[in-house]
Protein backbone atom coordinates (compact mmCIF):
# COMPACT_ATOMS: atom_id res chain seq x y z
CA UNK A 1 0.00 0.00 0.00
CA UNK A 2 1.35 3.39 -0.84
CA UNK A 3 0.96 6.72 0.85
CA UNK A 4 -1.77 8.70 -0.84
CA UNK A 5 -0.02 11.05 -3.22
CA UNK A 6 -1.32 14.46 -4.19
CA UNK A 7 1.50 14.93 -6.67
CA UNK A 8 2.27 14.11 -10.28
CA UNK A 9 6.03 13.57 -10.24
CA UNK A 10 7.88 15.30 -13.10
CA UNK A 11 11.28 14.25 -14.48
CA UNK A 12 13.38 15.25 -11.48
CA UNK A 13 16.72 14.36 -13.07
CA UNK A 14 16.01 16.80 -15.91
CA UNK A 15 15.20 19.57 -13.42
CA UNK A 16 18.37 18.77 -11.46
CA UNK A 17 20.39 18.99 -14.69
CA UNK A 18 18.90 22.44 -15.41
CA UNK A 19 19.80 23.56 -11.86
CA UNK A 20 23.38 22.35 -12.29
CA UNK A 21 23.74 24.16 -15.63
CA UNK A 22 22.42 27.37 -14.01
CA UNK A 23 24.89 26.97 -11.14
CA UNK A 24 27.77 26.56 -13.62
CA UNK A 25 26.65 29.70 -15.48
CA UNK A 26 26.53 31.74 -12.26
CA UNK A 27 30.07 30.62 -11.35
CA UNK A 28 31.30 31.36 -14.87
CA UNK A 29 29.74 34.82 -14.58
CA UNK A 30 31.94 35.57 -11.59
CA UNK A 31 34.98 35.48 -13.90
CA UNK A 32 33.63 38.00 -16.43
CA UNK A 33 35.06 40.92 -14.46
CA UNK A 34 32.02 43.03 -15.37
CA UNK A 35 30.46 43.82 -11.99
CA UNK A 36 26.88 44.51 -13.06
CA UNK A 37 26.83 41.42 -15.25
CA UNK A 38 28.30 39.35 -12.43
CA UNK A 39 25.65 40.51 -9.95
CA UNK A 40 22.82 40.15 -12.46
CA UNK A 41 23.87 36.63 -13.38
CA UNK A 42 24.53 35.53 -9.79
CA UNK A 43 21.34 36.84 -8.20
CA UNK A 44 19.07 36.50 -11.24
CA UNK A 45 20.06 32.87 -11.56
CA UNK A 46 19.67 32.36 -7.80
CA UNK A 47 16.05 33.53 -8.02
CA UNK A 48 15.37 31.20 -10.96
CA UNK A 49 17.02 28.26 -9.17
CA UNK A 50 15.05 28.92 -5.99
CA UNK A 51 11.82 29.03 -8.02
CA UNK A 52 12.63 25.74 -9.74
CA UNK A 53 13.38 24.02 -6.42
CA UNK A 54 10.25 25.44 -4.74
CA UNK A 55 8.01 24.55 -7.69
CA UNK A 56 9.34 21.14 -8.66
CA UNK A 57 10.95 19.70 -5.51
CA UNK A 58 8.82 21.33 -2.77
CA UNK A 59 5.69 21.29 -4.96
CA UNK A 60 4.61 24.68 -3.62
CA UNK A 61 2.51 25.49 -6.66
CA UNK A 62 0.26 22.45 -6.23
CA UNK A 63 0.05 22.74 -2.45
CA UNK A 64 -3.08 24.15 -0.78
CA UNK A 65 -3.35 27.74 -1.89
CA UNK A 66 -2.76 29.27 1.54
CA UNK A 67 0.74 27.74 1.66
CA UNK A 68 2.32 29.83 -1.14
CA UNK A 69 0.41 32.86 0.19
CA UNK A 70 1.87 32.22 3.65
CA UNK A 71 5.40 32.04 2.25
CA UNK A 72 4.91 35.15 0.11
CA UNK A 73 3.60 37.11 3.11
CA UNK A 74 6.70 36.07 5.11
CA UNK A 75 8.94 37.26 2.27
CA UNK A 76 6.95 40.51 2.07
CA UNK A 77 7.59 41.17 5.77
CA UNK A 78 11.31 40.60 5.19
CA UNK A 79 11.10 43.17 2.38
CA UNK A 80 9.39 45.61 4.76
CA UNK A 81 12.22 45.08 7.27
CA UNK A 82 14.77 45.77 4.55
CA UNK A 83 12.99 48.88 3.28
CA UNK A 84 12.62 50.28 6.79
CA UNK A 85 16.17 49.76 7.96
CA UNK A 86 18.30 49.80 4.82
CA UNK A 87 18.42 53.58 4.23
CA UNK A 88 20.04 54.14 7.62
CA UNK A 89 22.53 51.33 7.14
CA UNK A 90 23.45 51.70 3.48
CA UNK A 91 23.99 55.46 3.66
CA UNK A 92 26.40 56.98 6.12
CA UNK A 93 25.08 60.52 6.13
CA UNK A 94 21.79 62.35 5.66
CA UNK A 95 20.43 65.85 5.97
CA UNK A 96 20.94 66.12 9.70
CA UNK A 97 23.01 63.13 10.65
CA UNK A 98 26.30 61.46 9.97
CA UNK A 99 27.56 57.95 10.81
CA UNK A 100 31.21 58.74 11.39
CA UNK A 101 32.08 55.25 12.66
CA UNK A 102 30.84 53.66 9.43
CA UNK A 103 32.65 56.21 7.27
CA UNK A 104 35.87 55.59 9.17
CA UNK A 105 35.42 51.84 8.82
CA UNK A 106 35.00 52.18 5.05
CA UNK A 107 38.05 54.43 4.78
CA UNK A 108 40.21 52.21 7.00
CA UNK A 109 39.11 49.02 5.24
CA UNK A 110 39.73 50.44 1.78
CA UNK A 111 43.09 51.85 2.80
CA UNK A 112 44.22 48.59 4.41
CA UNK A 113 43.23 46.54 1.38
CA UNK A 114 44.52 48.94 -1.27
CA UNK A 115 48.24 47.87 -1.32
CA UNK A 116 47.28 44.23 -1.80
CA UNK A 117 45.21 45.08 -4.85
CA UNK A 118 47.48 47.56 -6.56
Amino acid sequence: MSTQSHIHHPNYVKIWAILVVLAVISVAGSFTGVRWLLLLMAFGIAVVKAYLVAKNFMHVTIERRFVPYLLIICLAFVAVLFAGVAPDVMKHRGLHWENQAAEQAVAAGSHAAAPAHE
Binding site: I7, A23, V53, C74
Partner: protein
Protein backbone atom coordinates in the same frame (compact mmCIF):
# COMPACT_ATOMS: atom_id res chain seq x y z
CA UNK B 1 4.86 -4.96 2.59
CA UNK B 2 2.51 -2.45 4.07
CA UNK B 3 2.73 1.17 5.07
CA UNK B 4 0.57 3.05 7.50
CA UNK B 5 -0.41 6.54 6.39
CA UNK B 6 -0.22 8.18 9.80
CA UNK B 7 -0.48 11.94 10.30
CA UNK B 8 -2.44 12.15 7.11
CA UNK B 9 -5.52 13.22 9.02
CA UNK B 10 -6.77 16.47 7.61
CA UNK B 11 -6.49 19.55 9.75
CA UNK B 12 -8.87 22.48 9.52
CA UNK B 13 -6.34 23.91 7.03
CA UNK B 14 -7.13 21.06 4.65
CA UNK B 15 -3.79 19.28 4.48
CA UNK B 16 -2.09 16.59 6.57
CA UNK B 17 -1.04 17.86 9.98
CA UNK B 18 2.58 16.75 9.52
CA UNK B 19 2.93 18.74 6.30
CA UNK B 20 1.19 21.74 7.84
CA UNK B 21 3.77 21.76 10.64
CA UNK B 22 6.65 21.62 8.16
CA UNK B 23 5.26 24.58 6.22
CA UNK B 24 5.02 26.56 9.47
CA UNK B 25 8.64 25.68 10.19
CA UNK B 26 9.62 26.87 6.71
CA UNK B 27 7.65 30.10 7.25
CA UNK B 28 9.49 30.80 10.51
CA UNK B 29 12.81 29.96 8.87
CA UNK B 30 12.09 32.58 6.20
CA UNK B 31 12.12 35.19 8.94
CA UNK B 32 15.32 33.83 10.50
CA UNK B 33 17.32 33.63 7.28
CA UNK B 34 15.48 36.53 5.62
CA UNK B 35 16.36 38.85 8.49
CA UNK B 36 19.98 37.70 8.55
CA UNK B 37 20.55 37.87 4.80
CA UNK B 38 18.76 41.17 4.28
CA UNK B 39 20.82 42.62 7.13
CA UNK B 40 23.97 41.33 5.40
CA UNK B 41 22.91 42.82 2.06
CA UNK B 42 22.30 46.31 3.47
CA UNK B 43 25.61 46.29 5.37
CA UNK B 44 27.45 44.91 2.35
CA UNK B 45 26.13 47.76 0.19
CA UNK B 46 27.09 50.29 2.87
CA UNK B 47 30.58 48.84 3.21
CA UNK B 48 32.18 48.46 -0.21
CA UNK B 49 35.49 47.62 1.49
CA UNK B 50 34.04 44.23 2.46
CA UNK B 51 34.68 43.21 -1.15
CA UNK B 52 38.36 42.88 -0.27
CA UNK B 53 37.47 40.48 2.53
CA UNK B 54 34.99 38.53 0.38
CA UNK B 55 37.80 37.99 -2.12
CA UNK B 56 39.38 35.57 0.39
CA UNK B 57 36.47 33.11 0.29
CA UNK B 58 36.92 29.97 -1.76
CA UNK B 59 34.54 30.19 -4.75
CA UNK B 60 35.34 26.67 -5.93
CA UNK B 61 34.52 25.15 -2.53
CA UNK B 62 31.24 27.09 -2.49
CA UNK B 63 30.43 25.97 -6.04
CA UNK B 64 31.18 22.36 -5.19
CA UNK B 65 28.91 22.59 -2.16
CA UNK B 66 26.16 24.03 -4.37
CA UNK B 67 26.45 20.96 -6.59
CA UNK B 68 26.40 18.70 -3.53
CA UNK B 69 23.24 20.27 -2.08
CA UNK B 70 21.42 20.31 -5.43
CA UNK B 71 22.23 16.62 -5.85
CA UNK B 72 21.14 15.80 -2.32
CA UNK B 73 17.85 17.60 -3.03
CA UNK B 74 17.43 15.37 -6.09
CA UNK B 75 17.88 12.29 -3.89
CA UNK B 76 15.37 13.68 -1.38
CA UNK B 77 12.67 14.23 -3.98
CA UNK B 78 13.35 10.83 -5.60
CA UNK B 79 12.92 9.39 -2.10
CA UNK B 80 9.57 11.13 -1.89
CA UNK B 81 8.59 9.61 -5.22
CA UNK B 82 9.62 6.15 -4.00
CA UNK B 83 7.61 6.63 -0.80
CA UNK B 84 4.59 7.66 -2.86
CA UNK B 85 4.80 4.36 -4.73
CA UNK B 86 5.07 2.47 -1.44
CA UNK B 87 8.71 1.44 -1.89
CA UNK B 88 10.00 2.23 1.59
CA UNK B 89 13.41 0.51 1.28
CA UNK B 90 14.22 2.50 -1.86
CA UNK B 91 13.05 5.71 -0.17
CA UNK B 92 15.31 4.87 2.78
CA UNK B 93 18.34 4.37 0.52
CA UNK B 94 17.70 7.69 -1.19
CA UNK B 95 17.27 9.50 2.13
CA UNK B 96 20.59 8.06 3.32
CA UNK B 97 22.22 9.32 0.13
CA UNK B 98 20.67 12.72 0.88
CA UNK B 99 22.22 12.63 4.35
CA UNK B 100 25.55 11.64 2.79
CA UNK B 101 25.29 14.79 0.67
CA UNK B 102 24.81 16.77 3.88
CA UNK B 103 27.88 15.14 5.41
CA UNK B 104 29.94 15.96 2.32
CA UNK B 105 28.73 19.56 2.52
CA UNK B 106 29.81 19.82 6.17
CA UNK B 107 33.22 18.27 5.43
CA UNK B 108 33.86 20.86 2.70
CA UNK B 109 32.73 23.59 5.11
CA UNK B 110 35.13 22.29 7.77
CA UNK B 111 37.97 22.35 5.21
CA UNK B 112 37.09 25.91 4.19
CA UNK B 113 36.76 27.24 7.73
CA UNK B 114 39.95 25.62 9.00
CA UNK B 115 41.86 27.18 6.10
CA UNK B 116 40.30 30.62 6.69
CA UNK B 117 40.92 30.49 10.44
CA UNK B 118 44.58 29.56 9.80
CA UNK B 119 44.77 32.61 7.53
CA UNK B 120 43.61 34.75 10.45
CA UNK B 121 40.02 35.34 9.35
CA UNK B 122 37.92 34.66 12.44
CA UNK B 123 34.52 35.81 13.68
CA UNK B 124 35.95 38.96 15.22
CA UNK B 125 38.15 39.96 12.27
CA UNK B 126 35.53 42.33 10.88
CA UNK B 127 31.96 42.85 9.80
CA UNK B 128 32.17 40.64 6.72
CA UNK B 129 33.62 37.69 8.59
CA UNK B 130 31.02 38.11 11.35
CA UNK B 131 28.24 37.73 8.81
CA UNK B 132 30.12 35.00 6.94
CA UNK B 133 30.53 32.72 9.95
CA UNK B 134 27.09 33.50 11.37
CA UNK B 135 25.16 32.93 8.15
CA UNK B 136 27.16 29.92 6.97
CA UNK B 137 27.26 28.50 10.50
CA UNK B 138 23.51 28.83 11.01
CA UNK B 139 22.97 27.19 7.64
CA UNK B 140 25.40 24.39 8.49
CA UNK B 141 23.51 23.80 11.76
CA UNK B 142 20.34 23.37 9.72
CA UNK B 143 22.14 20.89 7.47
CA UNK B 144 23.29 18.92 10.53
CA UNK B 145 19.81 18.81 12.07
CA UNK B 146 18.33 17.85 8.69
CA UNK B 147 20.81 14.98 8.36
CA UNK B 148 19.84 13.57 11.75
CA UNK B 149 16.12 13.72 10.93
CA UNK B 150 16.78 12.20 7.50
CA UNK B 151 18.45 9.19 9.13
CA UNK B 152 15.60 8.73 11.63
CA UNK B 153 12.98 8.93 8.86
CA UNK B 154 15.06 6.56 6.69
CA UNK B 155 15.18 3.98 9.50
CA UNK B 156 11.37 3.89 9.60
CA UNK B 157 11.01 4.06 5.83
CA UNK B 158 13.26 1.02 5.43
CA UNK B 159 10.56 -0.95 7.30
CA UNK B 160 7.84 0.69 5.20
CA UNK B 161 6.66 2.70 8.19
CA UNK B 162 5.69 6.35 8.43
CA UNK B 163 6.32 6.93 4.73
CA UNK B 164 4.47 10.27 4.81
CA UNK B 165 7.43 11.66 6.76
CA UNK B 166 9.66 11.29 3.68
CA UNK B 167 7.90 14.17 1.96
CA UNK B 168 8.00 16.31 5.12
CA UNK B 169 11.74 16.04 5.67
CA UNK B 170 12.16 16.58 1.93
CA UNK B 171 10.37 19.95 2.13
CA UNK B 172 12.69 21.03 4.94
CA UNK B 173 15.78 19.84 3.06
CA UNK B 174 14.80 21.67 -0.12
CA UNK B 175 14.34 24.85 1.90
CA UNK B 176 17.86 24.46 3.30
CA UNK B 177 19.00 24.04 -0.31
CA UNK B 178 17.22 27.28 -1.31
CA UNK B 179 18.94 29.17 1.51
CA UNK B 180 22.31 28.01 0.18
CA UNK B 181 21.30 29.03 -3.35
CA UNK B 182 21.22 32.63 -2.04
CA UNK B 183 24.13 32.34 0.39
CA UNK B 184 26.48 31.19 -2.36
CA UNK B 185 26.32 34.34 -4.53
CA UNK B 186 26.14 36.60 -1.47
CA UNK B 187 29.27 35.25 0.23
CA UNK B 188 31.32 33.78 -2.61
CA UNK B 189 30.50 35.58 -5.87
CA UNK B 190 29.53 39.20 -5.07
CA UNK B 191 32.91 40.84 -4.58
Amino acid sequence: MTSRPIATGRTAAGLPSARLVVWWVVASEIFIFGGLLSSYVMHRIGHPEWAFQAAHTNTWAGAFNTLVLLTSSLFAVLGHKAADSGDGPRAARLLRLTALGGLTFLCVKAFEWSHEIREGFVLSTGGFWSFYYTAAGLHAAHVLVGMLILLVVAADAARNQELQRVECIGIYWHFVDIVWIFLFPLLYIAR
